[in-house]
Symmetry: C2
Subunit: 138 residues, 2 copies
Protein backbone atom coordinates (compact mmCIF):
# COMPACT_ATOMS: atom_id res chain seq x y z
CA UNK A 1 0.00 0.00 0.00
CA UNK A 2 2.97 2.29 0.43
CA UNK A 3 3.17 1.94 -3.34
CA UNK A 4 -0.14 3.69 -3.38
CA UNK A 5 1.20 6.53 -1.26
CA UNK A 6 4.19 6.77 -3.61
CA UNK A 7 2.00 6.80 -6.68
CA UNK A 8 -0.18 9.49 -5.22
CA UNK A 9 2.76 11.67 -4.24
CA UNK A 10 4.10 11.21 -7.76
CA UNK A 11 0.86 12.59 -9.11
CA UNK A 12 1.28 15.75 -7.12
CA UNK A 13 -0.96 14.76 -4.28
CA UNK A 14 -0.23 16.78 -1.18
CA UNK A 15 0.43 14.22 1.50
CA UNK A 16 -1.40 14.82 4.75
CA UNK A 17 -1.90 12.72 7.83
CA UNK A 18 -5.59 12.38 6.96
CA UNK A 19 -4.99 11.13 3.47
CA UNK A 20 -2.36 8.71 4.64
CA UNK A 21 -4.71 7.28 7.24
CA UNK A 22 -7.55 6.84 4.75
CA UNK A 23 -5.23 5.07 2.32
CA UNK A 24 -3.98 2.81 5.09
CA UNK A 25 -7.48 1.89 6.18
CA UNK A 26 -8.25 0.73 2.66
CA UNK A 27 -5.26 -1.59 2.65
CA UNK A 28 -5.95 -5.29 2.24
CA UNK A 29 -7.77 -7.68 0.03
CA UNK A 30 -11.50 -8.31 -0.10
CA UNK A 31 -12.09 -5.11 1.79
CA UNK A 32 -15.33 -3.35 0.96
CA UNK A 33 -15.93 -0.66 3.51
CA UNK A 34 -18.57 2.04 3.50
CA UNK A 35 -17.47 5.62 3.84
CA UNK A 36 -18.69 5.58 7.42
CA UNK A 37 -16.69 2.48 8.21
CA UNK A 38 -13.62 4.04 6.70
CA UNK A 39 -14.25 7.08 8.84
CA UNK A 40 -14.70 4.98 11.98
CA UNK A 41 -11.41 3.19 11.40
CA UNK A 42 -9.62 6.38 10.48
CA UNK A 43 -10.78 8.00 13.69
CA UNK A 44 -9.08 5.26 15.68
CA UNK A 45 -5.75 6.39 14.33
CA UNK A 46 -6.43 10.09 13.94
CA UNK A 47 -9.25 11.09 16.25
CA UNK A 48 -9.85 14.53 14.82
CA UNK A 49 -10.34 13.50 11.20
CA UNK A 50 -13.66 14.75 9.87
CA UNK A 51 -16.28 12.96 7.84
CA UNK A 52 -16.02 15.51 5.06
CA UNK A 53 -12.34 14.77 4.64
CA UNK A 54 -12.96 11.05 4.42
CA UNK A 55 -15.60 11.64 1.75
CA UNK A 56 -13.31 14.01 -0.13
CA UNK A 57 -10.38 11.65 0.00
CA UNK A 58 -12.38 8.64 -1.07
CA UNK A 59 -13.78 10.65 -3.96
CA UNK A 60 -10.29 11.62 -5.04
CA UNK A 61 -9.03 8.07 -4.84
CA UNK A 62 -11.91 7.01 -7.04
CA UNK A 63 -11.19 9.77 -9.55
CA UNK A 64 -7.56 8.75 -9.65
CA UNK A 65 -8.62 5.19 -10.35
CA UNK A 66 -6.98 3.82 -7.23
CA UNK A 67 -10.21 2.69 -5.62
CA UNK A 68 -13.52 1.50 -7.01
CA UNK A 69 -16.93 2.53 -5.87
CA UNK A 70 -19.37 -0.35 -5.65
CA UNK A 71 -23.00 -0.13 -4.71
CA UNK A 72 -24.10 -3.64 -3.98
CA UNK A 73 -26.93 -2.75 -1.71
CA UNK A 74 -28.85 0.49 -1.94
CA UNK A 75 -27.60 1.78 1.30
CA UNK A 76 -24.08 3.11 1.35
CA UNK A 77 -21.50 3.06 -1.40
CA UNK A 78 -18.59 0.78 -0.67
CA UNK A 79 -14.99 1.33 -1.59
CA UNK A 80 -12.92 -1.42 -3.11
CA UNK A 81 -9.16 -0.91 -3.15
CA UNK A 82 -8.70 -3.83 -5.54
CA UNK A 83 -9.04 -1.50 -8.51
CA UNK A 84 -6.18 -2.80 -10.62
CA UNK A 85 -7.56 -6.26 -11.28
CA UNK A 86 -10.94 -6.25 -13.01
CA UNK A 87 -13.48 -8.25 -11.06
CA UNK A 88 -17.10 -8.48 -10.12
CA UNK A 89 -18.97 -9.04 -6.90
CA UNK A 90 -20.88 -11.75 -5.12
CA UNK A 91 -23.20 -10.46 -2.42
CA UNK A 92 -25.08 -12.26 0.31
CA UNK A 93 -28.70 -11.13 0.20
CA UNK A 94 -29.03 -11.73 3.91
CA UNK A 95 -25.92 -10.49 5.70
CA UNK A 96 -24.53 -8.31 2.94
CA UNK A 97 -21.15 -10.04 2.83
CA UNK A 98 -19.23 -9.27 -0.35
CA UNK A 99 -16.62 -11.33 -2.20
CA UNK A 100 -14.64 -10.41 -5.25
CA UNK A 101 -15.17 -12.92 -8.05
CA UNK A 102 -13.64 -13.42 -11.48
CA UNK A 103 -16.17 -14.90 -13.91
CA UNK A 104 -15.04 -16.38 -17.17
CA UNK A 105 -16.41 -14.88 -20.33
CA UNK A 106 -16.87 -11.30 -21.31
CA UNK A 107 -20.31 -9.82 -20.73
CA UNK A 108 -19.50 -6.97 -23.09
CA UNK A 109 -19.32 -9.45 -25.96
CA UNK A 110 -22.76 -10.72 -24.95
CA UNK A 111 -24.50 -7.50 -25.88
CA UNK A 112 -25.24 -7.51 -29.62
CA UNK A 113 -25.08 -4.27 -31.54
CA UNK A 114 -28.85 -4.27 -31.93
CA UNK A 115 -29.15 -4.12 -28.17
CA UNK A 116 -26.76 -1.20 -27.75
CA UNK A 117 -29.10 1.54 -28.96
CA UNK A 118 -26.17 3.62 -30.17
CA UNK A 119 -24.55 3.81 -26.74
CA UNK A 120 -20.78 3.81 -26.48
CA UNK A 121 -20.33 1.26 -23.74
CA UNK A 122 -17.35 1.65 -21.50
CA UNK A 123 -17.97 -0.59 -18.56
CA UNK A 124 -19.94 -3.56 -17.29
CA UNK A 125 -20.75 -4.27 -13.70
CA UNK A 126 -21.95 -7.72 -12.71
CA UNK A 127 -23.41 -8.46 -9.30
CA UNK A 128 -24.24 -12.00 -8.29
CA UNK A 129 -26.70 -12.30 -5.42
CA UNK A 130 -27.32 -15.28 -3.25
CA UNK A 131 -26.99 -16.64 0.24
CA UNK A 132 -23.61 -17.22 1.81
CA UNK A 133 -22.76 -20.48 3.61
CA UNK A 134 -22.98 -18.81 7.00
CA UNK A 135 -26.48 -17.51 6.47
CA UNK A 136 -27.60 -20.76 4.82
CA UNK A 137 -26.51 -22.66 7.93
CA UNK A 138 -28.32 -20.33 10.30
Amino acid sequence: MSDLLERLRGRGWRMTAQRRVVAEVLDGDHVHLTADEVHARAVERLPEISRATVYNTLGELVTLGEVLEVSTDRRAKRYDPNAHRPHHHLVCAQCGAIRDVHPTGNPLADLPATERFGFTISDVEVTYRGVCPNCAAA
Copy 2:
Protein backbone atom coordinates in the same frame (compact mmCIF):
# COMPACT_ATOMS: atom_id res chain seq x y z
CA MET B 1 -51.79 -3.84 -16.31
CA SER B 2 -55.24 -4.72 -15.05
CA ASP B 3 -53.83 -8.25 -15.11
CA LEU B 4 -51.56 -7.03 -12.39
CA LEU B 5 -54.47 -5.79 -10.33
CA GLU B 6 -56.21 -9.10 -10.86
CA ARG B 7 -53.15 -11.07 -9.86
CA LEU B 8 -52.73 -9.02 -6.75
CA ARG B 9 -56.33 -9.37 -5.72
CA GLY B 10 -55.99 -13.11 -6.27
CA ARG B 11 -53.12 -13.14 -3.83
CA GLY B 12 -55.29 -11.62 -1.15
CA TRP B 13 -54.10 -8.08 -1.64
CA ARG B 14 -56.57 -5.67 -0.21
CA MET B 15 -57.36 -3.29 -3.04
CA THR B 16 -57.29 0.37 -2.17
CA ALA B 17 -57.37 3.50 -4.25
CA GLN B 18 -53.75 4.19 -3.32
CA ARG B 19 -52.49 0.81 -4.39
CA ARG B 20 -54.40 0.95 -7.62
CA VAL B 21 -52.93 4.33 -8.46
CA VAL B 22 -49.37 3.19 -7.74
CA ALA B 23 -49.84 0.12 -9.91
CA GLU B 24 -51.27 2.25 -12.70
CA VAL B 25 -48.39 4.68 -12.58
CA LEU B 26 -45.98 1.81 -13.08
CA ASP B 27 -47.76 0.69 -16.19
CA GLY B 28 -45.82 0.71 -19.41
CA ASP B 29 -42.59 -0.54 -20.81
CA HIS B 30 -39.14 0.90 -20.34
CA VAL B 31 -40.37 2.80 -17.34
CA HIS B 32 -37.84 3.25 -14.58
CA LEU B 33 -39.20 5.69 -12.08
CA THR B 34 -37.82 6.61 -8.69
CA ALA B 35 -40.07 6.36 -5.67
CA ASP B 36 -40.39 10.12 -5.67
CA GLU B 37 -41.41 10.19 -9.32
CA VAL B 38 -43.98 7.51 -8.64
CA HIS B 39 -45.26 9.60 -5.78
CA ALA B 40 -45.41 12.73 -7.92
CA ARG B 41 -47.44 10.98 -10.59
CA ALA B 42 -49.66 9.28 -8.06
CA VAL B 43 -50.43 12.62 -6.46
CA GLU B 44 -51.78 13.88 -9.77
CA ARG B 45 -54.49 11.26 -9.59
CA LEU B 46 -54.97 11.02 -5.88
CA PRO B 47 -53.75 14.23 -4.26
CA GLU B 48 -53.79 13.03 -0.68
CA ILE B 49 -51.63 9.95 -1.15
CA SER B 50 -48.66 9.99 1.20
CA ARG B 51 -45.03 9.25 0.51
CA ALA B 52 -44.99 6.50 3.10
CA THR B 53 -47.78 4.70 1.30
CA VAL B 54 -45.95 4.88 -2.00
CA TYR B 55 -42.84 3.44 -0.38
CA ASN B 56 -44.84 0.71 1.32
CA THR B 57 -46.68 -0.23 -1.84
CA LEU B 58 -43.55 -0.29 -3.96
CA GLY B 59 -41.89 -2.46 -1.35
CA GLU B 60 -44.80 -4.87 -1.42
CA LEU B 61 -44.81 -5.05 -5.20
CA VAL B 62 -41.12 -5.88 -5.07
CA THR B 63 -41.69 -8.57 -2.46
CA LEU B 64 -44.45 -10.05 -4.57
CA GLY B 65 -42.09 -10.13 -7.53
CA GLU B 66 -44.27 -7.86 -9.65
CA VAL B 67 -41.74 -5.06 -9.84
CA LEU B 68 -37.96 -4.99 -9.80
CA GLU B 69 -35.79 -2.63 -7.84
CA VAL B 70 -32.83 -1.35 -9.80
CA SER B 71 -30.14 0.92 -8.47
CA THR B 72 -28.28 2.12 -11.50
CA ASP B 73 -27.00 5.27 -9.94
CA ARG B 74 -26.44 5.68 -6.23
CA ARG B 75 -29.13 8.18 -5.77
CA ALA B 76 -32.63 6.78 -5.68
CA LYS B 77 -33.77 3.24 -6.28
CA ARG B 78 -35.77 2.87 -9.45
CA TYR B 79 -38.73 0.59 -9.98
CA ASP B 80 -39.02 -1.53 -13.09
CA PRO B 81 -42.43 -3.06 -13.80
CA ASN B 82 -40.97 -5.32 -16.49
CA ALA B 83 -40.28 -8.02 -13.91
CA HIS B 84 -41.57 -10.99 -15.81
CA ARG B 85 -39.05 -10.93 -18.63
CA PRO B 86 -35.49 -11.24 -17.36
CA HIS B 87 -33.36 -8.41 -18.62
CA HIS B 88 -30.48 -6.17 -17.72
CA HIS B 89 -29.81 -2.46 -17.94
CA LEU B 90 -27.86 -0.05 -20.04
CA VAL B 91 -27.25 3.28 -18.35
CA CYS B 92 -25.95 6.56 -19.71
CA ALA B 93 -23.18 7.75 -17.43
CA GLN B 94 -23.99 11.34 -18.29
CA CYS B 95 -27.74 11.83 -18.38
CA GLY B 96 -28.76 8.71 -16.48
CA ALA B 97 -31.05 7.39 -19.22
CA ILE B 98 -31.86 3.71 -18.77
CA ARG B 99 -32.72 1.08 -21.37
CA ASP B 100 -33.68 -2.51 -20.84
CA VAL B 101 -31.36 -4.85 -22.74
CA HIS B 102 -31.29 -8.58 -23.36
CA PRO B 103 -27.74 -9.88 -23.65
CA THR B 104 -27.07 -13.29 -25.09
CA GLY B 105 -25.34 -15.81 -22.88
CA ASN B 106 -25.90 -16.62 -19.27
CA PRO B 107 -23.66 -14.86 -16.77
CA LEU B 108 -24.57 -17.41 -14.13
CA ALA B 109 -22.83 -20.08 -16.16
CA ASP B 110 -19.75 -17.87 -16.28
CA LEU B 111 -19.09 -18.20 -12.58
CA PRO B 112 -17.18 -21.42 -11.92
CA ALA B 113 -17.85 -23.36 -8.75
CA THR B 114 -14.46 -22.40 -7.38
CA GLU B 115 -15.54 -18.78 -7.55
CA ARG B 116 -18.79 -19.30 -5.71
CA PHE B 117 -17.39 -19.67 -2.21
CA GLY B 118 -20.26 -21.89 -1.15
CA PHE B 119 -22.89 -19.28 -1.94
CA THR B 120 -26.26 -20.37 -3.27
CA ILE B 121 -26.62 -17.93 -6.12
CA SER B 122 -30.11 -16.90 -7.06
CA ASP B 123 -29.72 -13.87 -9.23
CA VAL B 124 -27.38 -11.91 -11.44
CA GLU B 125 -27.64 -8.24 -12.19
CA VAL B 126 -25.69 -6.80 -15.11
CA THR B 127 -25.34 -3.09 -15.66
CA TYR B 128 -23.74 -1.76 -18.81
CA ARG B 129 -22.50 1.81 -18.56
CA GLY B 130 -21.69 4.13 -21.37
CA VAL B 131 -22.72 7.28 -23.15
CA CYS B 132 -25.99 7.50 -25.02
CA PRO B 133 -26.21 8.93 -28.56
CA ASN B 134 -27.82 12.12 -27.30
CA CYS B 135 -25.06 12.90 -24.84
CA ALA B 136 -22.37 11.85 -27.32
CA ALA B 137 -23.73 14.38 -29.82
CA ALA B 138 -23.83 17.21 -27.30
